[in-house]
């Protein structure tokens, strides 16, 4: 593997073929000019990169538990601060947390909120694959309306998840952090630019990165980039940033594709393409449109 690409995260980890997060890790960490310390919430990334006695991490790395990556990093960052004060360290170091949507939207939300409020100098990178994938596809508050998961199974009386996704970006923005952005693994240049900006910003910063899961969304491993791109092309996953409270859309799609373009080819939405579930797709289109319109309003 390209040495430069593997300088922070080695090949040989056991993430699935077609998993998005190795590219996310490399894109984000590659943008740091300084050495990086990583904290990681429990999840796919952690179990596939740290199987004892091996590790894929060439940076100092800590995995504590599922819900406390932000609190853990709070401790690391303050240790760094006192080391600096005492003259025990002179190098500039960056601090990056990686967590999935379960560890961020759900169980780790309090820990994240606390760390954002306290203003620690760190970048939180959420790789959002829209459900609990490490435990085999259970719904999270990031799971989209209509998705078939093991805990929102499709059945005679169910079309899958019947709640909308949580608007985590708005929650993060409510902490008045200097920089937060939504990105997508399919748009690496945009992701890298955002990572660089986040890493260069003092105080807590946040990236929500779209990260398709071949295994539980059920699509061919070769298709993750194409599928991720479709999420943005349908306005399901717009690329935007929030800088000092100001929303800015980074890419406006001239003629957004209908939501079906994103749904088709994914096993988790297969059931929606039947007459009786037509209304679910309609609702999903409505949710997508409303979210986009809200974003446009906020960006004005």
């Amino acid at each position: 593997m390209n040495e430069e690409l593997a300088k922070n995260f080695a090949p040989g980890h056991s993430a699935c073929a077609g998993c998005a997060f190795p590219a996310i890790i490399r894109a984000v960490l590659g943008e740091s000019q300084d050495p990086v310390v990583v904290a990681n919430a429990t999840g796919c990334m952690e179990v596939t990169s740290t199987l004892y006695p091996y590790t894929a991490w060439k940076t100092p790395y800590i995995h504590n538990a599922f819900e406390n990556a932000s609190a853990t990093m709070s401790g690391v960052e303050r240790a760094y601060k006192i080391f600096q004060k005492k003259g025990k360290i002179d190098k500039k170091i960056k601090f990056v947390v990686f967590g999935g949507d379960g560890g961020t939207y759900d169980i780790g939300l309090q820990s994240l909120s606390g760390a954002l409020e306290r203003g620690h100098n760190f970048l939180y990178v959420l790789y959002d694959n829209e459900a609990y994938m490490n435990t085999g596809n259970q719904r999270s508050s990031a799971t989209p309306y209509g998705a078939n998961t093991e805990t929102t199974p499709v059945g005679k009386k169910s079309f899958g998840k019947d709640q909308k996704r949580k608007d985590l970006m708005a929650i993060v923005a409510a902490h008045h952090v200097k920089y937060a952005a939504q990105a997508n693994v399919a748009y690496l240049a945009d992701l890298k630019r955002k990572a660089k900006k986040a890493l260069e910003t003092e105080g807590p910063t946040f990236l929500n990165v779209f990260s398709p899961c071949t295994n539980n969304w059920k699509f061919p491993t070769s298709q993750y980039v194409r599928l991720a791109r479709t999420a943005t092309e349908t306005n399901y996953w717009p690329l935007f940033e929030i800088e000092d409270g100001n929303y800015k859309i980074n890419m406006t799609i001239e003629n957004p594709k209908p939501i079906e373009e994103f749904l088709k080819g994914q096993g988790r939405f297969k059931h929606l393409f039947s007459e009786k579930n037509k209304h679910v797709i309609e609702e999903m289109q409505k949710i997508t449109n409303e979210n986009w319109e809200r974003l446009v309003r906020l960006s004005k």
Binding site: P35, V37, A39, E46, V47, T50, L51, Y52, P53, T55, W57, K58, T59, P60, Y61, I62, H63, N64, A65, E67, N68, A71, T72, M73, S74, G75, V76, E77, R78, A79, Y80, K81, I82, F83, K85, K86, I89, K91, I93, Q110, S111, S113, G114, E117, R118
Partner: protein, 392 residues
Amino acid sequence: MTTANNKKNRIALTGGAAAAEALRQIEPEVMAVYPITPQTPIIETYAKFQADGEVETEIIQVESEHSAISASVGASAAGARTVTATSSQGLALMNEILYIASGLRLPILMLVSARALSAPINIHGEHGDVMDARDAGWIQIFSENAQEVYDNTIIGMKLAEKAGLPVMVIMDGFSTSHSVENLEILEKDVVKKFVGEYRPEQYLLKIDDPVTFGPLALQNSYFEFRVDQEKAMKDSKEEYLKIAKDFEALSGREKNYFESYKLDDADQAVIITGTAAGTAKDVVDKMRKNGEKVGLLKINLFRPFPREEIVGALKNVKNIAVMERAISLGTYSPFYADIASGLHQEEKNIPMQQYIYGLGGRDIFAKDIEKVFEDLAENKISKEIKYIGTNK
């Protein structure tokens, strides 16, 4: 035994303030804390030291006890000398991460103002919270009074770093944490020298030598991690004694795994720890004056449990009362179970009665303890747990 060249000061402090005073002298690098009664005076007192510029510590005012211990894990893994403090529900909320702190072998020091667990909610003293954490891989040291809180905080910090394990220093909520007592403190430079510099081998901020903390260990390796951890725990017993004896030389205050009080020729022995041990010693004194051969064993180090030493100290008594301020629902309480297994191993068949006292801050009086000794003298021993001072 007093070492003449160490200047000592007498001072009146609560147990909580005594812990904060010891911490002021140690000056930990990071302290991650969250308020809970009756622990709060410790972190409030320390926050004032910080506000007045007396200490240089990064205090992280987190949003829960779960985050207090999580941030402590991060800070300690980063290489910083790290302290936290809690009580009761806070300790229960930390429970998940207690195991991670010890599994990662992080020398975090935690002050605990021991308090009852809900429900019903009760903010008063008891040992139920720390007993709940007894299998979590933390060294646990009990304190009888403010002096011992001060001493154990200093011993505990050094022990954590020498043993490479986290340490809980425990005081009884309110009866010790909020009671003003006279104690002797050492000079700050003496304490600093005693505790020494913390120099971990591997830590996150050693940026040129990256290390992965908290990996995944499966069926082929997890078991060995746990066995190694048990060995470290076992080895920490000797380390405790060594540090305790060094502290004894420094302070002139006797330190050991436990305190034997008039136990050598005793027929009846009470096992106890925490604040009530002070009252029990008064009872022993009084009854000794009347010629009764009673004695007491006060547990200081509870985890790792100095089983053989405790059994050795009890070998000549005729019977024992184990008095505990914690209830293990469905079985006997921890001291009783641990001592019974020790006696069994040594093939000592000494009758032993379990007593439970002081739950939820219920007072215990000298007359209650006197009654315990009297019952022992009459060999009133049963399998039933006896509750002191209840309406039941």
